[in-house]
């Protein structure tokens, strides 16, 4: 009897164990990334392209298994290129959506509102807000620990074109024409003039306009009277086009240098023939041999755009830099750890090149800028690359 009971007991136990399934592995918690872009404000054309690039990068990462098996969820909100709206959507992402990191816009105005908030909330922000004030305190030089710029800063970009003009074109006398109401324009024009003066050149005219000005002919006449060899225009495309036409209409036949806002569709906005124009570009978007070529072609096909937009590369690159840090982190949801890893970013492959971030400034040290021109068909051609 006892034997029968024992056998039955063993059988029951064996059957119970056989019926037990192994405990299913719990799905890993998603990594949540916020993306703040200008989707409806004054820079929305760039913002939408930026958002597309970031979302596409997340899609590709997820399709390749995510980050250590964790999928990424990206939540895109609209800052409308406004400081206050930028803070509102930041707060929404951090407080409501509990994001682990944020991809920022290529706009310094809204980004400047997050420099201290990101430290309080310990949320790393990676973006293309090129004004130096978004990564380092303009008064003390101290770095904002949770802010990271992944393209050359305004000053670095201006140095690149000034270096090209002085060393390659051999020009010595310059003028500037820029919008004093536009932080982007000022953040380019002032370092440009400094570089020229520091390297043996001279600035013979510094002319400005404001947002409410629609005619720059007076400024153009003054510049022509000063007779510089080159004029540097650093503004958004519309103002730059008006300035270009004003200069050519006033009889200026010299070299015109421009910021990275002179890409397509700039030739469709100017009335004068484009000649002797050299401008900055972050990517060589039309070269099939570059890293970003397929990305830009995919964007153009999907969105129906006639031309590539650098901002697609911006969104993509920002996500790649952040993803590289998230992969190295033991806990990708730990903002402090991710921040420390971002600070030591070295040789991460992005469309723009291999990026290494300077821990003292949170800006890249290894990214240069392309110099572009328009050919006789107004097709953009990359002329050369200026090393950092």
């Amino acid at each position: 009897m006892k034997k029968i009971v024992l056998v039955v007991a063993i059988l029951v136990m064996a059957l119970s164990l056989a019926g037990c399934k192994p405990k299913a592995a719990e799905p890993q918690e998603k990594i949540i990334i916020g993306s703040i872009q200008d989707l409806s404000g004054g820079a929305s054309e760039a913002g939408k392209a930026n958002a597309w690039g970031a979302e596409y990068a997340v899609k590709v990462i997820n399709e390749n298994g995510g980050i250590d098996g964790r999928q990424i969820e990206i939540i895109t909100l609209d800052c409308k290129n406004d400081l206050n709206e930028g803070i509102n959507v930041y707060r929404k992402l951090v407080d409501e959506y509990k994001v682990d990191a944020i991809i920022g816009p290529p706009l310094s105005n809204p980004a400047s509102g997050w420099v201290e908030l990101s430290e309080e909330d310990q949320v790393p922000i990676v973006g293309h807000f090129a004004d130096e004030i978004t990564t380092t305190n303009p008064d003390t030089g101290a770095v904002y620990p949770f802010m990271y710029l992944v393209q050359p800063s305004c000053g670095q970009q201006s140095d690149a074109i000034a270096k090209f003009a002085i060393e390659t074109l051999g020009l010595k006398t310059y003028a500037t024409l820029y919008n004093t109401g536009n932080a982007f324009a000022k953040a380019h024009a002032i370092p440009f003039m400094k570089y020229v003066r520091d390297h043996g050149g001279s600035v013979v005219a510094e002319e400005t306009f404001t947002w409410t000005d629609t005619d720059y002919s007076a400024q153009a006449l003054k510049i022509v009277a000063a007779n510089p060899e080159a004029v540097f225009l650093s503004d958004y495309a519309n103002q730059a086009a008006t300035a270009y036409d004003a200069l050519r209409d006033a009889g200026f036949t010299g070299v015109i240098l421009g910021a990275n806002t002179l890409a397509l569709p700039f030739p469709t906005l100017v009335k004068n023939e484009i000649h002797d124009l050299y401008f900055l570009q972050n990517y060589d978007m039309l070269n099939p041999e570059t890293r970003c070529y397929d990305l830009h072609q995919t964007y153009m096909k999907e969105v129906g755009s006639e031309y590539p937009k650098a901002n697609v590369g911006f969104g993509w690159d920002a996500v790649q830099v952040l993803a590289a840090a998230l992969e190295k982190a033991k806990d990708p949801k730990d903002g402090v750890e991710v921040r420390e890893i971002l600070e030591s970013t070295k040789g991460v492959e992005i469309c723009m090149g291999d990026i290494t971030i300077n821990p003292a400034t949170h800006r890249p040290t290894t990214l240069g800028m392309h110099i572009a021109v328009y050919d006789e068909n107004n097709t953009m051609q990359i002329l050369t690359y200026v090393e950092p």
Binding site: A43, T214, D215, S217, A218, L221, K222, P265, L269
Partner: protein
Amino acid sequence: MVSQLIVNGISIGAVYALIAVGFAIVFSIMRFSNFAHGGMISACAFIGFYFQRAFDPAPPFYITILFTAVCGMAIAILIDTLGYSRIRKKKSPGIYYFLMSLTFAILIEQILTVFYGTNMYGYPKVFQNETFMIGDLRFKIMNLVILGVSVAMLIALILLINKTKVGLAIRAVAINAEAGKLMGINSGMIVTLIFVIAGILAGVSGVFLGVQYSVYPAVGSIMMVKGFIASVIGGLGSLSGAIFAALALGLIEIFLTYFLGARETTVIMFAIMLAFLFLRPQGISGKITEDKV
């Protein structure tokens, strides 16, 4: 250099005059500042742009101007029908016209932004060469065209208002709409006619601004500021005052910008407007208008 500044200043002033007159003509009858004029200008700039692109090759420039003038007229009638006429029927206070006009201005700009974004578009090139020289003076061809068209339209308007029965009716309604009705004038038709004229001016302005400055949703509202200043200085409701003030504004602006700088110029321009409002609120031509009354 001074001669060149004068040439450039008059050119700029001609653009302001076209906008200021569209503004002034509505004020002369309706006694309110029609800020929707800026929205109409933006809408017409886009209409002209897409009209040009719809055909290959692009139609002659004057055809585009005529087409957008007609479209401007239609938009103006639509705004009057949907908004201002209802206020007239209810005999509401004048402030409602102002609010309605501001609302339409913002609405039109936002509709354009929704459909076209904040991207900028460029009209195809109209002239092979943009400028030519006479002696040491450089003239921009488009500026001369704008000046010519502005002057022609303004002469036509002044002749209409001063030499025709319709113009007599317009002046009568401007003085007193109720008395005009008692005299057998169809005030409603006159008001519609005024908006038609303003719409035509918006259409023409839109194309010229689009050609000069690119096409984007805010192009009208940005230029409206200058047109408004010219109207105030010239005397709200006075066509000749608006024209004179616009030309003067163009000259003052270019000389100040040349000798003082852009930032200072903006401040001074608004200070001049304020000075007129304080010292002579009827504007340059206001006294003439008062004498006529």
